[in-house]
Amino acid sequence: MAEIALKGVMKAYGKFLVVHGVDLDIAHEEFVVLVGPSGCGKSTTLRMIAGLENISGGTISIGDRIVNDLPPRKRNISMVFQNYALYPHMNVRENLGFGLKIAGMAPAEVEQRVNEAAGILSLSSLMDRTPAELSGGQRQRVAMGRAIVRHPDVFLFDEPLSNLDAKLRGQMRAEIKKLHQKVKTTVVYVTHDQVEAMTLADRIVVMRDGRIEQAGAPMEVFNRPRTTFVATFIGSPPMNMLPGKINAGAVQLADGSSIPIPERLKAKTETGQEVVLGIRPDDISPVGHGLSQDGSGATLRLTVELSEPLGMESLLYTRIAGQEVQAKLYGPRLVKPGETLDFRLALDRAHLFDTTSGLSLEAA
């Protein structure tokens, strides 16, 4: 069993605290993705789990061992690095077998394990090439092969796809997911790409400024963001945020216009409270092009400033109370800039956040 437990884990560089007491329990065979913008402490946290960074405070345990003071080689983990970190002076076969050889495994067994990993990742035809003779995607697969060949307790991935082009990234994402289904192992995966986080994770951990902002299943984090930060970070294009004030059962916006409070949140608001109304672009659509007309909602007449046709849908840029808002139009209809349309806002899926704390009113 290889569950990982982080208890009050801290990291300081000199006087600067970069990870502030992170608490996180990762179950056996769980796929957890740490996601957040640059400098949020996600990579540092991963490197502390790997043993590549000292821990300034708290404890990390893998299985039933506290690993704080164990060097990486004694933690039974393997790691895929952002820049692959393949050994340039060894061919693919030697790269894959290196860790087993160091562990003193018999050559026949090394060969069998290497071949098994090569089979899983379709590397068999590349075994005699050096890393310099491989494409980006192939290098990435070798790096993953090197990780699985040792049958570790835990896989750590440090932004493994960020050096690949968009198409290859999609393919490799699927391969990683398949790999996890085949080789059931606990995975901690670090990325700044929220699409990777959504698609791969059993559980997403959103980090910001060295703290966990929210942890939960991808759809839970998407549907019930705990803070404005999570709301804008998860989901693409990001959620529209409209600041306003509660007044007579509605959110009064900067220009005096108002949007009704979502039914389920009515009880949690008080008149005069400063709030931010969050609504995803998918939940604002021109009438007749996407959202159904029932349920709670509001219809606003808005002028389109810019349209980005994406094929089956278009992203429309418009303004509500002077603030730029993105909306979606489903179906291949061309919209010209300057065109005025009736937009339906699906308010049952909108969110309210407290302006000062940034916390969702739903959580309160």
């Binding site: 080689r73 692959y84 050994y87 340039p88 090197r146």
Partner: protein, 291 residues
């Protein structure tokens, strides 16, 4: 119609490239002539070397000059070339080895670790490198004479190590810096100790740099004349370049013998450079990590 097409660069581009070749060729000739003259003179009798007008194409090649200096021929000049040669080999090899070991440890430390005063120490090393060795000869002579190190191999080895260490540290530091830290980390995750990660991953990748540092250190020690001429006296410690002075007498200079000895000095240096030249080609680290 031909199926293959050849590309003909425009005429002025071809002229430019021809001009470049010619200039390079002329420059190479100018650089090579003195060396060539030394080598030719080593195989000719004194009479031909000193002939006026000069004899460019050798008329009779001979190994007599080499026999003479090794005391094998009929005409003997009885110079202890064998001892000089051994002294040179021992002093150059020992000082190179020590300078490399210190250079590797120091270069790795500068490339990989953060420590107090790092910048200052590095700058100090480079400044030390900028001081001409000969400027230190008098103080070194005085200290060495107090310590009884004059006319000993150890005395020269210490001088050459201290001359070479700043350079080896600087060069090897640069090579370790080029090797991504992630490689050593990957090796440690793969089960290596820090020491194993160094020997199995970082050392092989820095080999070309270490070889280059070794060649330069060896050549510096092998060719050094100024300090060696001050600090050596006898066959116990005299090196080949100092030995060249033995060919000058009060009224004559034995050019042929001197050139033969010069060839003996050049050959090991040249051979060494050829042996390690494949390691001198850097770029081994390309491909392991995305740039």
């Amino acid at each position: 119609m031909s199926t293959t097409e050849t590309f003909h660069p425009p005429i002025n581009q071809r002229l430019k490239s021809a001009g470049l070749w010619l200039a390079t060729f002329l420059l190479m000739i100018i650089m090579c002539v003195p060396g060539l003259w030394v080598v030719l003179s080593a195989f000719r009798p004194n009479s031909e070397i000193l002939a006026k007008p000069p004899v460019w194409i050798p008329q009779n090649l001979t190994l007599d000059n080499f026999r003479k200096i090794f005391g094998l021929g009929s005409e003997q000049i009885g110079l202890p070339v064998g001892s000089y040669f051994m002294n040179s080999v021992i002093i150059a090899a020992t000082s190179t080895f020590i300078a490399l070991v210190i250079g590797m440890a120091g270069g790795y430390a500068f490339a990989r670790y953060r420590f107090a005063g790092k910048g200052g120490i590095f700058l100090g090393l480079m400044l030390f490198r900028a001081v001409p060795g000969i400027a230190l000869s008098l103080p070194v002579f005085m200290i060495w004479s107090k310590l009884g190190l004059i006319d000993t191999k150890l005395g020269l080895v210490i001088v050459y190590v201290s001359l070479n260490v700043p350079f080896t540290i600087w060069l090897i530091d640069g090579f370790f810096r080029q090797i991504p830290l992630a490689l050593s980390e990957a090796a440690q995750v793969d089960g290596c100790t820090r020491w194993q990660a160094f020997w199995k991953i970082e050392f092989p990748l820095a080999r070309s740099g270490i070889a280059a540092a070794g060649v330069f250190a060896f050549l510096t020690s092998w060719n050094e004349f100024a300090l060696a001429s001050q600090l050596t006296r006898s066959t116990d410690s005299k090196t080949l370049p100092v030995g060249l002075l033995d060919f000058t007498a009060q009224f004559t200079i034995d050019w042929a013998g001197m050139c033969a000895m010069a060839v003996i000095i050049i050959i090991p240096a040249l051979a060494l450079t050829f042996l390690v030249q494949k390691h001198l080609i850097a770029g081994l680290t390309f491909g392991g990590v995305k740039g």
